[in-house]
Symmetry: C2
Subunit: 136 residues, 2 copies
């Protein structure tokens, strides 16, 4: 079976070896195996699992909670419901983040317009007294 060194995996996942070792210390990868002389050996499936870990991180999940998920994975079918719940919950938080970003983007685009027109006019004054209490 093909295996990979920690630095290869780091490159593949766009992480540092420090980060991978940190994740290991936090018990996020109990599945990786070792050579007899104490070097980690990553399998293809390990890399897939780490991509899920990265996905959960990207969704804003703290590492301690990701650890719960990893533990449940080792526990087999009895934890299927918990694992399902985790991803449904993640789906909701990511949806909320998307909404937040959308609002943020609206304000930013408004400001782009504000400064574009101000630049064209040579002064910000054209926006003064436009709307009282507005965001302009």
């Amino acid at each position: 079976m093909k295996t990979f060194s920690i630095s290869t995996v780091a490159k593949e996942l766009d992480l540092t070896v420090y980060t991978l070792r940190y994740c290991d210390k936090e018990r996020l990868m109990p599945f990786v195996e070792w050579t007899p002389n104490g070097t980690r050996l990553f399998k293809e499936t390990d890399i897939s699992a780490l991509k899920i870990v990265e996905c959960l991180k990207a969704s804003g999940m703290p590492i301690k909670e990701i650890k719960n998920f990893i533990d449940w994975c080792s526990d087999g079918d009895s934890t299927l419901q918990q694992r399902y719940d985790i991803f449904m919950e993640r789906k909701a938080t990511v949806e909320a983040q998307k909404e937040e970003l959308k609002k943020t983007m609206e304000i930013i685009e408004h400001k782009c317009f504000y400064y574009k027109t101000a630049l064209e006019a040579g002064t910000e004054d054209i926006h003064k007294n436009k709307k009282i209490g507005g965001l302009d």
Copy 2:
């Protein structure tokens, strides 16, 4: 002119007074005025400006860079280009974040499906050997 206390503004922006004072210490609100006995007095326009600060924070901009923007605002029309550039750059990074979230969401939704079907089958085994090296 109507003014607001720090705790009122905190409520309005959904921040703590600690956070507002921290922002002040970081020179993110040089525009707020003070009573003779040393209390901050927020105007309506100050709250609008702080909403922009919060928007920049939400876009992932570090506070030290937001400070640059605030400084430029005080410098008048000579900094219009810099300020425009900042928002155009923010627009690009938020766009990138949206892309990232989209990818994250795809994996999460795939996992929701994975666990939903596993739950229905009563076992995760139905997904074994489906695709070698796949994300399932």
